[in-house]
C-alpha cells in the first residue's frame, strides 16, 4: 500500500510538472527577480526593484504584453551564491516565472544564470559588470544576456572621454597615471588601462596604490606629483577618495583632469564631505538625472519614490522593456522562443510603444564579439557609460557630448 501511494505521488508530481507549461500561457506574465533584499547590500537591491516596479506599472497601464499583465516575483539572495541558487530554483519550479532578472553581485549572477540555462528560462542581467560572465567559459549559458557595459568598457570609456575632451578644452591629454586601492578593484583598473592605453595613445607615467583606509596619502600624492601626469584615473572607497582630494590640495598638485571609476567618488558622502573642493572631479556614471533622455523619466520617478533615479534603477527599468519587446516579438512566453527573440532584438533609439532608451547610448543589441582577443557572448555591445563631473557641488553629465549640454570644467579647479 505504501509503495502504491509513493508511486502515485511521484506520478502526481510529474504530472504537475508537465501540466504547468500549458497553463502558463494564461494569466499574468511572471518576471522573477533575484536581488539582495536583506543583508549589507539591501539598499542596492531596493534601487533596482524600484526601477523594475516603475517599468512594470508603466507597461501594465498601457495594456500589458500580448494582452497579459506583468507580475514581479521577488527572490532574495542576501549576497550569498548558495541562496541565489535555491531562490532561482524556487522561482522557476514553484513560482513558474517566465523570465528572470538578476543579480547585483557577479558571483551570484553566474550561479543563477546556470540554473536558468538548465531550466530554459531566459535571463538578463541589468548590472553585473564582471567581464568573465560572458567569456568562453560561459559560452554554454545560452539563456543569459547582459545589458550593462563590462568592467573593461567602463575603463575604455574613461580613456575615450580623456581623448574626446580635447574637442572642448583645446588641449590634448597625453600622459596619465593610475591612483587606486591595492585591493581587487584596483587590480581590475590597472589591467583594463594596460589593455587600452596604447590604442588611445596615452603614456602611463605612474601607477600608485595604497591599502584601504590609509592613515595618510601624502606619499602617494607626492609620487603622482613627481610623475606629473595630465590626468589621473582612480578607483577608491569613500574614505580614501575624500582623503585623496584633500591631500591633492595639501600637496599643491592639481592634475588637469581626474576621472574616477565611480565607487567612493559617487558615494553621496563624497560631496557632503568635500563640498566645492570636489569641483572638477569626474566619474563614470551609468545614468545621471540630467542626461538628455533621462530628464523626463527622472521627474516621474522622483514623483513616485521621492529620490532620483540612479544607474541601477535606470538599467533594471530598461531590462523590463527588453523583455516586453522580446515576448511581443515571440508571441509566446515559451523559453526557447523568447530567448531567440532576445538574441534577434535590435532596438534603435526607442522601444516600440515606449520611451527613448534612457541610458547614455542609443542602441540595444546582444551580440557575440571579440574583446581584446577573447571571444565574448551575448553582451549588449552598444552599451556605454556616461561621465559626470562635479560642478558647483553637483554631478553634471559632461560626456558623451551628444547626451548633454554641459561643458567640461577644465582644468579641474578643486575649489
Amino acid at each position: 500500500m505504501k509503495k502504491l501511494i509513493a508511486i502515485l505521488s511521484v506520478l502526481a508530481m510529474l504530472l504537475a510538472l508537465f501540466t504547468v507549461p500549458t497553463m502558463a500561457e494564461e494569466g499574468p506574465i511572471r518576471i522573477g527577480t533575484i536581488y539582495a533584499m536583506s543583508g549589507g547590500n539591501a539598499a542596492i537591491g531596493e534601487n533596482i526593484l524600484r526601477g523594475i516596479d516603475f517599468a512594470v506599472a508603466e507597461i501594465n497601464a498601457k495594456g500589458g504584453v500580448n494582452g497579459r499583465q506583468l507580475e514581479v516575483v521577488r527572490g532574495d539572495h542576501a549576497g550569498d551564491p548558495a541562496q541565489g541558487r535555491s531562490e532561482a530554483e524556487r522561482l522557476i519550479t514553484q513560482e513558474h516565472v517566465d523570465v528572470m532578472m538578476g543579480c547585483h553581485m557577479s558571483v551570484v549572477t553566474e550561479v543563477v544564470a546556470q540554473v536558468c540555462t538548465q531550466y530554459g528560462v531566459p535571463m538578463i542581467t541589468a548590472i553585473s559588470t564582471l567581464d568573465k560572465l560572458s567569456d568562453p567559459d560561459h559560452e554554454a549559458m545560452d539563456y543569459f544576456f547582459r545589458l550593462c557595459p563590462l568592467n573593461s568598457v567602463y575603463v575604455e570609456d574613461m580613456l575615450k572621454y580623456l581623448k574626446d575632451s580635447s574637442e572642448q578644452t583645446g588641449e590634448e591629454i597625453k600622459t596619465i597615471a593610475i591612483f587606486t586601492d591595492r585591493a581587487a578593484i584596483g587590480q581590475e583598473l590597472i589591467r583594463c588601462v594596460e589593455l587600452y592605453k596604447d590604442e588611445y595613445g596615452f603614456d602611463l607615467v605612474a601607477t600608485v596604490d595604497y591599502s584601504s583606509n590609509a592613515t595618510d596619502l601624502s606619499a602617494q600624492v607626492l609620487a603622482l606629483k613627481q610623475a606629473n601626469p595630465d590626468a589621473v584615473l582612480c578607483d577608491s572607497y569613500i574614505g580614501d577618495a575624500t582623503l585623496f582630494v584633500q591631500t591633492l590640495k595639501a600637496q599643491g598638485f592639481t592634475p588637469k583632469m581626474i576621472v574616477a571609476k565611480a565607487n567612493g567618488f559617487t558615494d553621496p558622502a563624497f560631496l557632503t564631505n568635500l563640498g566645492d573642493a570636489a569641483n572638477g572631479v569626474a566619474s563614470v556614471v551609468e545614468f545621471n538625472p540630467d542626461l538628455i533622455n533621462g530628464q523626463e523619466i527622472n521627474e516621474e520617478f522622483k514623483a513616485e519614490y521621492g529620490v532620483n533615479m540612479n544607474g541601477h534603477s535606470a538599467e533594471s527599468y530598461t531590462v523590463v522593456w527588453i523583455f516586453k519587446t522580446a515576448i511581443e516579438a515571440a508571441g509566446t512566453t515559451d523559453g526557447a522562443a523568447v530567448r531567440d527573440a532576445i538574441a534577434a532584438l535590435d532596438i534603435q533609439g526607442e522601444f516600440p510603444g515606449g520611451r527613448k532608451i534612457v541610458l547614455p547610448y542609443d542602441r540595444i543589441k546582444f551580440e557575440n564579439y571579440d574583446l581584446a582577443g577573447v571571444p565574448h557572448y551575448r553582451d549588449n555591445t552598444s552599451a556605454s557609460v556616461a561621465i559626470a563631473q562635479v560642478q558647483g557641488g553637483e554631478w553634471k553629465t559632461v560626456w558623451p557630448f551628444s547626451f548633454t549640454d554641459t561643458k567640461i570644467l577644465y582644468p579641474a579647479p578643486l575649489q
Binding site: 592613515t215 601624502s218 609620487a223
Partner: protein
Amino acid sequence: MSIFLQACVNGLLIGGFYSLMGMGQNVIFGVMKIVNFCHGEMLMVGMYLTLLLSTHLGLDPYACVPLVAILMFLLGALIQHTLITPSLRTNSFTNLLFLTVGMGMLLSNLALVLFGSEYRTIPTSYSQTYITLGPVNLSLPRLISFGVLIVISIALFAFLKYTTTGKQIRAVSQNPVGAEVVGINAKRIYILTYGLGTALAGVAGALLTGFYTIFPTAGSAFGFRALIVVVVGGLGSIPGAFFAGIFLGILETMVALFISPSYSDLIVFVTFIVILVVRQLIIIRRK
C-alpha cells in the same frame, strides 16, 4: 629637493600622530605591563566625541580637544576600575588580551550601530586652507594639529618628570611592590595611567578630525602603528615612543619616495620585525 623636503614635512606631520598614540600605549604598558589592544578604537571614540561636540554644541574641533581629553580620561578610568583592575589580579595575560581586544570590537561595532557606516568629516572655515612655506605646502589643520600635539607631548614629559603624581607613576612602573611599600596607592595610579593613556588616544582622534574622515574602523590602522612605535621605541619608554613615532612617519614617506608607495607598508613591517629580532638577540647576548 623640494619633493624631498615636502616628504620630510609630510612624514613629520603624520609621525606626530603615531608618537601620540605610541606614548599613550607606553604610559599604560610601563605601569601595568599590559598591551592595550583597544588603543586604536579609543582614537576612534575620540573622533566621534569630537563630531558630537562640534555638531551639537557648535564647537570648533580644536576647542573640543580639552573636553574630549577629560571625557576620554573618565572613560578610561571607568574601564580600568570596573574591568581591568579585577582582571589584573588573575595575573593572566590572555585574560587581559581578550579583554582589550574584545573591548575594541565592542567599541567599533557600537559606533557602527550608533553612527552607521558612513564616512564623515567636520568641515570648518579653515579646513581647505593651505600655506606655502618656501618649497613646502602645508594644510593648515595638519599644522595646527601638529603644534597641539607637540605641546601635549612636552606637557606629558613635564608631568611625569616633575609632579608628585608623575613621580608616583614612574615609581609604580619601575617597581610596583617597592612603590606600595613606600605608601603609593597602586590602584589609584592604575586608574590614572589608563585614563591618561586613553585620553592621549582620544586627543589624537580629536586632532585628526581636522583633515581625516571619521568612520567606525578609523582607529585600527593607527592602533596598529602604535604597537610598532612601542616596539621600536622600547616598551615603557615615553621619549622612545615619541621619537619612534616621528621615525615611523618619516620612514613611510621616504620609502614611498625613494622606492615605491606600493612597498611602504611592506618595508615598515619588515623594519619592525628586524628591530624586534635584533633587540631580542642583543638582550640574549648581554645575558
